[in-house]
Symmetry: C2
Subunit: 408 residues, 2 copies
């Protein structure tokens, strides 16, 4: 290792072809089966499903089937409970704003401190600009939700409680059954952002009977970007946030994005097929990655509780160095990972999730999320596990923090 | 012609292969060049543009180029004036709601009586549920906007004027320069829904200096469904309607629909290339269709002014019969057309546009829109022109209206 010319990969053999993609909580590769399913709706069946001719009817049939497939993933009673949207952020906004617009008298919202920006940003806006009162439920050092605080916070006049199922940064799971029981004791609408959970964990709205709405996002489960869905339990009042045409039973105006909806349907079908793989093979790969890195690198730790976590997610803090530096060298080694949420990247603020967990600044700043998928394999894990200690050592040797460290 | 077994196509030769698609104001075939441009972003470059690695950077470059291409179609000063959305309806909602949210003190909105449902539906909602005052400017019998009424209606405390550039049903054009001058005399924000005009007519925001925002929709100009854009002139205040992440400079949260944005960019580039064809060859095809049908069918008329119209659109009323019946038989002949707007189809209400023009019920109910594209040719025109009189004759022979007609 000699200054700027240090060779990160010396002796490691070639970078796995095409690079190593371990940023699946940011976005996923579109599954080949999904592309095959959607192509006819891009190329031939281009009609508007609202149109009264064969071109429209072909599109309409694809859309109908897609809605059934999404409903099947969630075990929804009827496809009419599925609203297609342009993605997870729109689904979250529709759930919350649509509920608030249906209950104009209720001005109190409850969420958690570790939600995705689509929920958290909207809640901040509700507080700052729209005169709502919002409470943010905290988490403990391992990312577990404070259920006592939740119990004390939800009120009869709360309009909606929106709490995620799986955290995008740490993978920590919140149990919608336990939370839902607390919420329903006060008779409040309960929305679950399941964008990270869908496709990785079973999600059965018959069992989750206390959940009124569930957000899912296509591009987190191997469908393309720009499509998502909101499950809305029959009988739930919901005003649209995009108003106009009759589409989606008047709950979301605009010509349906047929090809992408078909893709989401196909991705849901694939997710059911691959869910076991996710919870056995992918989980084992993730555990192998942690088991190799954690003992090999001094002053590093896993963020988030060990067991109640998404099977694909490892969030590791490397003290005294910066996440961006790690990402840069990982990228040089052909490895794609993330520091914090991609949706807030570009900012110098440390992750709001790790902050809420009370992770000290010196650790939070050097935290990296590896998020796997069905397309990763053992060779990639071993490659990443070999590269990471070198990168950390390299960065600690040249950053100012490392000097402090040696004096502590 | 013998009762139910009447052969619509007798003596006409085979239906043109793949059918005749003349419903391009409802949605268009995705151009092959557009599919070629987007495919790499579906298959290989699947990174999240916000991510700090090569997968993200590849996506980001595609998105940047796409934004430039959209900006070029409109001659925008900078690509930063382009916000990508999920389509025309979202663009319209963002323009109007985003402006209202930026000017909470202004409670008056002006639009026209013949807007697309994305504007009209939202305005009805603003009136009924959100306490706004909305004025709807009328049109004359040929669909021309009542500029005197506009002049009398726009006030200093009007929050926004939203008036379309080209009507989706009749193709009638409103001149944004004339309208903009009236709007700007009162210093009011001016939004133009150019969903039908974009790609068919020149659209230059340097010349349209009185226009603050312009909506465009991908699937009306040979890009896929589910993507659109809103041009927002630098300096225009606009709050997001989908709140959360930092994307689109904080004006539209959610992971960018990269492949579809790339497709929209490519479609804008193609639109520039094909714009002359649209205004010469396609216009001539449309004129040929009208010149053949209008004299051949008794009691039919063109709706909308003859000259200031989209070059691709023909809206023809056939008295005494119903549009749905015509569409059904057209479809049987392999011809795709529309009655009224696809976005309001399924309803039994006659077109709000023709109603606003004062077209009598007996005509409005039997109105058909043929909307052409670069993919139509003369053979198709002649085929449609041969089929239509047969259909009308057939329907008039069997509908109750036809009896009334014979007694008038």
């Amino acid at each position: 290792m000699t200054g700027g010319s240090f060779d990160l990969l010396e002796g490691l053999g070639p970078v796995p072809e095409g690079g190593v993609y371990m940023d699946n909580n940011a976005t996923t590769r579109v599954a080949p089966e999904v592309i095959d399913a959607m192509m006819p709706y891009l190329v031939e069946h281009y009609g508007n499903p609202s149109s009264m001719h064969r071109f429209g009817a072909e599109s309409g049939r694809g859309l109908t089937r897609a809605r059934e497939q999404v409903a099947e993933l969630l075990d929804a009673r009827t496809p009419a409970e599925i609203i297609f949207t342009a993605g997870g952020s729109e689904s979250d906004n529709l759930a919350i704003m649509g509920t608030l617009r249906s209950h104009p008298d209720k001005r109190h919202v409850v969420t958690s401190a570790v939600e995705h920006p689509a929920v958290l940003g909207l809640c901040k806006d509700l507080e700052k600009r729209q005169g709502y009162e919002v409470d943010y439920i905290g988490v403990d050092g391992e990312g577990r939700l404070d259920l006592d605080q939740l119990r004390d916070t939800v009120r009869e006049d709360t309009a909606i409680v929106s709490i995620m199922m799986a955290n995008n940064e740490t993978g920590v799971l919140f149990d919608p059954v336990t939370i839902g029981e607390i919420v329903k004791q006060k008779g409040v609408v309960f929305h679950v952002d399941a964008v990270q959970a869908a496709g990785k964990l079973p999600l059965d709205v018959q069992q989750l009977e206390m959940v009124d709405m569930i957000s899912i996002s296509g591009h987190k489960l191997h469908a393309p970007k720009g499509v998502g869905a909101l499950y809305v339990r029959k009988g739930t009042r919901l005003r649209p946030i995009i108003v106009g045409g009759h589409q989606e039973r008047g709950r979301r105006a605009g010509t349906e994005n047929v090809a992408s909806c078909v893709a989401l349907g196909a991705a849901c079908e694939q997710a059911v097929i691959h869910r076991d793989d996710e919870n056995t093979r992918v989980r084992a790969l993730r555990d192998r990655l942690e088991a190799k890195i954690l003992p090999a690198v001094p002053d590093c730790r896993r963020n988030g509780v060990r067991d109640e976590r998404l099977p694909n997610t490892a969030n590791i803090s490397f003290d005294y160095i910066e996440g961006e530096g790690i990402l840069l060298l990982l990228d040089r080694a052909g490895i794609a990972a993330s520091s914090g949420s991609a949706c807030t990247s570009g900012s110098l603020e440390p992750s709001h999730v790790l902050k809420a967990m009370g992770i000290p600044f010196i650790s939070a700043h050097g935290s990296i999320r590896f998020s796997l998928s069905r397309y990763n394999d053992e060779r990639e894990i071993d490659y990443v596990a070999a590269v990471v200690p070198r990168i950390v050592e390299r960065l600690r040797a040249i950053t100012p923090f490392s000097k402090q460290r040696s004096t502590f």
